[in-house]
């Protein structure tokens, strides 16, 4: 068994619980964590005792998405790309990174031969929402919050939102990055079920145990009827386009919108950056507090 630093790998009840475990960074997805998730899924794939995988996050958050501390160097204005880099270099870099880090991993999980269940409690933002939604099933705790606030500083959404929630709902939330709570996620089809936070893992593993009653080959075929059926219906094409557009989204920084945010980050770190970015959008009209 591999030695993991950024995640927990715990076999239990005919499955395995993989916990994204960077609680100090709200389980933000850095290179180390995503590399280890690849390894952990590969380990679970070859382990005959494991019939399904549950992916969760440590200590009250699923994950806040890509680690903003990993972000690129200073931007040169008015060009909107990193200092000293040519456009072709930057475009190529983003394009290759997206194919490998996002599209490649998404297809690997999508086509995975055992059910992957996302157990979402707390923040589930940006690329972490894509991770949660590309799981075969997604169960939300009542405190879950989904959103893609990265669009506010010039980054792309993912077509999985459209595939699951439908055209209008996906656009309503992804054009603005607005948060939604667990009930709204259930209504639009992002999740299977909403349960109290303290029953989240129990609900997931009760399902794992039901999966374990069905022959493994049958489970695999029936996963593929759904996942590959949607690929045949065009999901694969939509994701291929998505990956190309992701690179372009990274090159869409405008001085009038982005400079203020980047300067806030230089002075006050990620917190100041988030304040500058998200302040104008608060209060979140579909977030958990709005309901109260």
């Amino acid at each position: 068994m591999a030695n993991y630093q950024a995640l927990l790998y715990e076999k239990q009840r005919k499955g395995v619980l993989i916990t994204l475990n960077r609680p100090n960074a709200l389980n933000a997805m850095n290179q180390e964590l995503m590399g280890e998730l690849d390894q952990a899924l590969a380990e679970a794939e070859t382990d005959g005792e494991i019939r399904a995988v549950v992916i969760s996050g440590a200590q009250g958050a699923f994950s806040v998405g890509e680690d903003l501390n990993d972000e690129a160097p200073d931007t040169a204005w008015p060009y909107g790309i990193p200092q000293g880099a040519s456009l072709v270099h930057v475009y190529n870099q983003y394009r290759d990174a997206d194919r490998k880090d996002i599209l490649g991993r998404q297809l690997y999980r999508w086509q995975y031969p055992k059910p992957i269940i996302g157990a979402v409690s707390g923040w589930c933002l940006g690329a972490a929402s894509w991770l949660a939604l590309t799981c075969h099933l997604t169960i939300a705790a009542d405190d879950a919050v989904f959103g893609q606030p990265q669009v506010r500083h010039g980054a792309n959404t993912d077509f999985i939102w459209v595939a699951l929630a439908g055209f209008k709902n996906a656009l309503r939330y992804s054009l603005t990055g607005d948060h939604i709570d667990a009930q709204e996620a259930l209504r639009i089809g992002l999740v299977n079920q909403v349960v109290p936070q303290n029953q989240l893992l129990e609900t997931c593993f009760a399902f794992v145990e039901r999966v374990a009653l069905v022959p493994p080959e049958t489970i695999k075929i029936n996963l593929h009827i759904s996942t590959m059926g949607l690929e045949m219906m065009g999901l694969r094409k939509a994701w291929t386009l998505n990956s190309e557009l992701a690179a372009m989204a990274q090159l869409s920084k405008r001085e009038a919108f982005n400079r203020r945010l980047e300067e806030a980050k230089q002075k006050g770190g990620v917190e100041a950056f988030l304040q500058a970015r998200d302040g104008p959008f608060q209060p979140e009209p579909f977030g958990p507090r709005a309901k109260k």
Binding site: T138, G189, N192, E217, T218, G229, L230
Partner: protein, 292 residues
């Protein structure tokens, strides 16, 4: 007019009521019943007085699925350790499965609206028949499921198309039952009505359809059905059809043999108890609802 043994054909109120009529076998779909269903559709096609079709089941089931009996269906004793019917080659078995699902595509492509009146159990291929109808109305007694996956069998992509990815997998991977209200929530049916109002509800729709010119109805049916075909549904169903073959060939002796022996020695009831007992109580079935 043809003579039907396993089907009732009753013209009324601008349409026709086709009743799957093998109540002693819960309207299990035998080879003959499929043949008669096609003959009935031929007759409907040629009869301009019939503007729409309503399909329902006699007794307490819509249909329990493909007939499992030896004489009327296509079950044969499996030879171990090969897991294929005695006397057949793997090639013959695979080929026979790949021709199967054409039968329901005819409903999809039919030139007059077909309304499913789901009066009770709609299991396995019975659920597929229900889902392939253009409009589906459920009585409060309806139950939808694909429990055949528990003994090694495939699902249908129609569940993914209508119920959405996550819902289709939640119920398709385990064969878990769902009641009429859950079927309504996820989009398998259009409306849930009291059992005694089911047929009246359906024929009220038939009468409204009869107010619209036939050519217009046909064009508008095709905008939806052929549009989904163009979006990739035909490709997805082709893949589905291909995957149904391995689903039935990849049988594990330790999981399947006890079930077949129970059926041979003690009958279908014992077989079902052995297969479904570990899954009971059904968490989303009608009885689960009454508890909450």
């Amino acid at each position: 007019m043809s003579e039907y043994k396993e089907l009732l054909y009753e013209k009324r109120r601008g349409g026709v009521l086709l009743t799957l009529n093998r109540p002693e076998a819960m309207n299990a779909i035998s080879r003959n019943l499929i043949k008669e269903l096609h003959e009935a559709l031929d007759e409907v096609e040629a009869d301009p007085e019939i503007r729409a079709v309503v399909i329902t089941g006699a007794g307490r089931a819509f249909s329990a699925g493909m007939d499992q009996g030896r004489a009327t269906g296509r079950r044969r004793d499996l030879h171990w350790p090969y897991g294929i019917p005695t006397g057949l080659s793997a090639a013959e078995v695979i080929d026979s499965w790949r021709s199967e699902s054409r039968n329901f595509r005819r409903l999809w492509e039919f030139g007059k609206p077909i309304i499913g009146a789901i009066n009770g159990w709609a299991m396995g291929a019975g659920s597929w028949l229900a889902l392939f109808t253009h409009i589906t109305i459920a009585s409060e007694n309806a139950v939808f499921a694909q429990p055949e996956v528990r003994h090694g069998s495939n699902t249908s992509f129609m569940w993914t198309l209508l119920g959405g990815f996550k819902n289709a997998l939640r119920y398709g991977l385990t064969g878990d039952h769902i009641d009429a209200r859950e079927a309504l929530r996820i989009g398998l049916v259009v409306k849930v009505v009291a059992a005694e109002q089911l047929l009246d509800e359906c024929f009220a729709i038939v009468e409204r359809i009869a107010l619209v010119p036939p050519e217009t109805v046909k064009i508008n049916l095709q905008i939806a059905t052929m549009g989904l075909d163009m979006m990739g549904l035909r490709d997805a169903l082709t893949l589905d059809n291909q995957l149904s073959a391995p689903a039935h060939v990849m049988l594990r002796e330790e999981l399947r043999r006890p079930l077949d022996e129970a059926r041979f020695n003690e009958g279908i009831k014992k077989y079902l108890m052995l297969r479904d007992g570990p899954f009971q109580p059904e968490p989303f079935g009608p009885r689960a609802r009454k508890k909450d």
